[in-house]
Every structure is written in structure tokens, then in C-alpha cells.
């Protein structure tokens, strides 16, 4: 288990190798990579800037990672979230989950992403080609995706 909030990019293959090399008790590794899209809400963006709450954000990510380990039999996990200014096509977030079985790895990764998209202390600002833009409003759909997990007792799955 480990989390990082950083400006630097990440290397998916290297992160997976770091979690799995030398181990033969892992059967399933899921990665989720979130990237900056060139448009948001149907309008082009030139870049986005992510702000976090140093200290609190890392603590929250560690807390939710531990929650994922309580809910599913995970052998290893990793969360990396970038901050600062990012251009379309660039990586934003990486979640890696490793388990003996595929459904646990898939569900834990989806759970972590639903949390990251709805509850993690990050704020997103977008810039548009015409110079406009601004802070992005919270999306209800992301919050609903997270609420779905909270209505389930730990140990059950949403599928």
C-alpha cells in the first residue's frame, strides 16, 4: 500500500513491476489511468490545473486505500495523483490493484476511482482557448457512484 501526490508523471509499467516483481501469489493486476481530455462539457480546453490540500489529501488517500484492503483481498495497491498544470493527453491519476483473483482487483480499482473522483480533496481548474475557464463544479454523478459503495456493507461487492 502506498500513495503519492506529485507533479511528476508516472510510468504504468514500472509501477506494476514494483508491486509484482518477485511475487508468485498475485494472479490479477488492474490499473486505471485517468488522462486529461481535450474537451470538457463539449468545449475545448487548453490545460487544467489541479490543487490539493497537502497533508490532508495524502491522509485521505491512505485511508481509502486501507478501506479497499478491508473490503477486498488485495495483495498490493498503489495510488498516484498528479497536481499542477496538465495538458490534454497527459496522465492525471494512476490506481493499481493486485489480488489473487480478478474480480477483487477490478472492484477495488473501481471503488478507489469512484472515491478519487468524488471525495478526494482535489480541485480542478480548466482553461479554454478563448482565455475563459475556471474552477470546475462538483458532479453529482461522481458522488452517486461513490454513494453506491457506501450503501453496501464492507466485504460485499457492487456487482
Amino acid at each position: 500500500m502506498s500513495v503519492a501526490v506529485q507533479e511528476a508523471d508516472f510510468d504504468i509499467g514500472a509501477e506494476v513491476a514494483r508491486l509484482t516483481s518477485g511475487r508468485d501469489d498475485i494472479g490479477a493486476i488492474v490499473t486505471f489511468t485517468g488522462t486529461v481530455r481535450g474537451q470538457s462539457g463539449g468545449r475545448a480546453i487548453t490545460d487544467m490545473t489541479l490543487e490539493h490540500y497537502p497533508g490532508m489529501t495524502e491522509a485521505e488517500l491512505e485511508r481509502i486505500e486501507a478501506e479497499a484492503h478491508r473490503r477486498w483481498p488485495l495483495q498490493a495497491s498503489r495510488i498516484i495523483h498528479r497536481i499542477g498544470r496538465l495538458s490534454p493527453g497527459e496522465n492525471i491519476v494512476l490506481v493499481v490493484t493486485a489480488s489473487a483473483h480478478r474480480h477483487a482487483a477490478f472492484e477495488a480499482a473501481a471503488f478507489l476511482m469512484d472515491y478519487l473522483k468524488s471525495r478526494a480533496p482535489f480541485w480542478k481548474k480548466e482553461s479554454r482557448p478563448d482565455g475563459s475557464g475556471g474552477w470546475v463544479d462538483a458532479r453529482d454523478t461522481d458522488d452517486e457512484a461513490m454513494a453506491r459503495w457506501e450503501s453496501l456493507p464492507a466485504g460485499t461487492t457492487a456487482r
Partner: protein
């Protein structure tokens, strides 16, 4: 509200709350009858100027005490730092 002596309180601002305030953090000394987060927001808003801007709609500003999300009714006694920010928007 329990009256207790005013004490310096470290406040952090994030995202558009920070931008409206024009600063990322500051130390304030609210009067002793400011007992909850809601009290603190009302007192800050009443200062006017950038405070009036940042807290114009208190219901959309979220708060954390010592890096834990709290409701407006949370007491602020003993807090080391209080943060104000918009609803989070993920990555």
C-alpha cells in the same frame, strides 16, 4: 455558545475560496462566542471585503478541522487549523 477567550486560529483557503481571499492562509482571532464552524463563517463573512466575497454563499463552502471534513455545527475549540474550500472535484 460557551464564551471562552479568543485565541489565534490558523485558517487555510483552497481553490476559488483561496482566489477570492487573495491568500492561501492566515491567522485570525475570532471573539470567544465563535464556537462552531458556522459561527466562524458568519463572523468571517461579516468582515466584508474579500471575506464577503469568499463566503457570499456559505452553504457551498466546505470545511475541515485539523484535516478532517466537518459539518457547520462542528465545534472549533482546540482546532490547530481550519480549512475552507469548495466541494472537491476529483482528478
Amino acid at each position: 455558545m460557551t464564551a471562552h477567550p479568543a485565541s489565534p486560529l490558523r485558517i487555510l483557503y483552497f481553490a476559488w475560496v483561496r482566489e477570492k481571499m487573495g491568500r492561501a492562509e492566515e491567522t485570525v482571532e475570532p471573539p470567544g462566542d465563535v464556537a462552531t464552524v458556522a459561527d466562524l463563517v458568519a463572523w468571517l463573512k461579516a468582515q466584508g471585503g474579500e471575506y464577503g466575497e469568499a463566503f457570499a454563499r456559505p452553504e457551498i463552502v466546505r470545511a475541515a478541522i485539523d484535516q478532517t471534513h466537518v459539518k457547520p455545527s462542528a465545534p472549533i475549540a482546540g482546532a490547530r487549523e481550519i480549512a475552507f474550500f469548495p466541494p472537491v472535484t476529483g482528478g
